[in-house]
């Protein structure tokens, strides 16, 4: 009934992932688990390989070594759209919205996988297509309501300020009703108030829909506040993994990342 804080079994398992680009190692032999319903943060300095890790998880990059299993499906190479079909959604570090479309249409694209009418039916826009559009529109409106972006519903996303674009991108990911949500620096470049809003949305998503969340974030306060677990990467290697308290106390992490401030 209430999935809150009830952390389940491992649903995502990455084993011995190594990835390099033209000889440059981005990830070296990284293994990590993510459990159902948890909020797991990946932290680390710039260039530590955090984004690459997300890209491996949802199939944008294909690691040279290692394998990823998600909900028991083992694979070493999966395409991004397959990952989407398995319920993995994500946002990007540099907002990757569809600039020429409205907020509404952007979020609607998040439901594309759930829309099944063919193009001939769509050309007629009658019966099944219209019902489908309305059904999904309603669902999208609920997301718009959830994220409190009603007043910009029909605005082209290109015209929105940064913070709102991030919110819309989260909405697009949520529209897919994912079981695993990957957020790449969801709060980068936001002011304090926007960060608070975004934190609340992330916690609400985790709480209300039971979504498992993996996020990359630089703001330590935020990470320590909202994560159940923190994984620390440094130069493509994993140097820490545990509860926020454990990670905070880990000497390697302190040396490599947190510095002397702790």
């Amino acid at each position: 009934m209430n999935p809150h804080r009830k952390i389940g079994d491992v649903i995502l398992k990455a084993e011995n992932i190594s990835l390099s680009f033209g000889g440059v190692k981005a990830l070296t032999n990284i293994s990590l688990d993510v459990r159902e319903h948890e909020i797991c943060a990946i932290i680390g300095p710039n260039g530590a390989g955090k984004s690459s890790m997300l890209n491996v998880i949802n199939g944008v990059y294909h690691p040279q070594e290692g394998r990823v299993s998600y909900k028991g499906h083992v694979r070493d190479s999966m395409h991004a759209h397959e990952a989407a079909r398995h319920g993995i959604a994500r946002t990007f570090q540099n907002i990757a919205l569809f600039k020429g479309m409205s907020v509404l249409d952007n979020i609607m694209t998040g439901r594309n996988l759930k829309m099944h009418t063919n193009f001939l039916q769509q050309a007629l826009y009658w019966g099944a297509t219209q019902r489908e559009e309305i059904r999904h529109r309603r669902k999208v409106e609920e997301i718009i309501d959830f994220l409190q972006i009603e007043n910009i519903r029909k605005t082209p996303v290109g015209r929105l300020p940064y913070g709102l674009q991030k919110r819309v991108e989260l909405g697009r990911a949520l529209a897919a009703e994912p079981t695993l949500l990957l957020l790449d620096e969801p709060m980068a470049g936001m002011n304090v108030e926007e960060k608070q809003d975004m934190c609340r949305f992330i916690l609400d998503v985790n709480d209300e829909f039971g979504t498992t969340i993996v996020l990359i974030e630089h703001d330590m306060g935020v990470v320590m506040d909202i994560s159940d677990r923190v994984i620390v990467l440094d130069y493509g290697k994993k140097i820490g993994d545990g509860s926020p308290e454990e990670v905070r106390a880990n000497p390697d992490v302190i040396a490599a990342y947190l510095g002397t401030s702790h």
Binding site: A80, A96, F98, N112, L113
Partner: protein, 354 residues
Amino acid sequence: MIYREAGQFKINYQSDSAILPIVQDRMFMIGLMVVSFLVIPVLGSDYFLAGILTPFLILSLAALGLNILTGYAGQLSLGSAAFMAVGAFATYNFMIRIPGIPLLLALVLGGLMAALVGILFGLPSLRIKGFYLAVATLAAQFFIEWALTKFGWFTNYSSSGVISAPEMQVFGIVIDSAAKKYLFTLAIVALLTLAAKNMVRSSLGRSWMAVRDMDVAAEVIGIPILKTKLLAFAISSFYCGIAGALWAFVLLGTVDPQAFDLHRSFQVLFMIIVGGVGSILGSYLGAAFIVLLPIVLNLIGQLFHGAISTQFLSNMEMMLFGGLIIFFLIVEPLGLARLWQIAKEKLRMWPFPH
């Protein structure tokens, strides 16, 4: 100014996502349809119908086809005329090789052949992008032009390579007069426009735009990139194919590969640049512009009573086209349709500036 939207609220999603959600726009469209279907065929002169409106409509359809591919799905093509040619020749061959085939069926089959060829030449789009792809579509342009000229089978071994259209009949009505040809074209173009509008406002259209705007993100969302692109190629080519068939049968009465050369491809491309990339309305505005410009230039030429050579005029036309393309890309990359949209926004906000 003319808009009075207060009180036009939406109580369901159907009306909120209607093609024309504003009453005044709907009235305008109804008026336009009445004039186009009922008034113009009666009052229009043969020259006006056959020399201006019919080519305008056909080219609009071709521009619409290209706009689906280039404007909505973001795949630049320089080979639209080739797909027009496929449509024209395929329709011709269906008509002469299957006796008694209804014109409309032949037309659809011709469009489908164009779609098939479109898919074939769209296949590289999985791996190549941008101008690489544009160059690949040039391959289609040259190859198809060559094949149609080279193989007599396509032209039914006509000695000149030029073939004449057989008599056209729809539901027992022989389409012979300028007015009938105009109406026939108008009906087809209107229907296909509606279908295009419907596609671009449903999930297919959103997938196209997603692929156009940010293909990596589209893939991550689960949009099948290749399928989406190929559908764009297929549907775009279908539209171009129908336009080609209409051009050959309804407008010219003959089918000649030279009518579909690279120049035609560029002409169609110019229409969408001037009219508006990624806008259905833009396809029409662009076609109107490109069709009318030479006519206007000619009229100006006539004013000078032959003091200006036709050669000069045609060079001027080239310069003007080229200049306009650059002008629009610099000043208003979204073309006339965007200007129209801005004007409409202004009217809705009138007298306020924003």
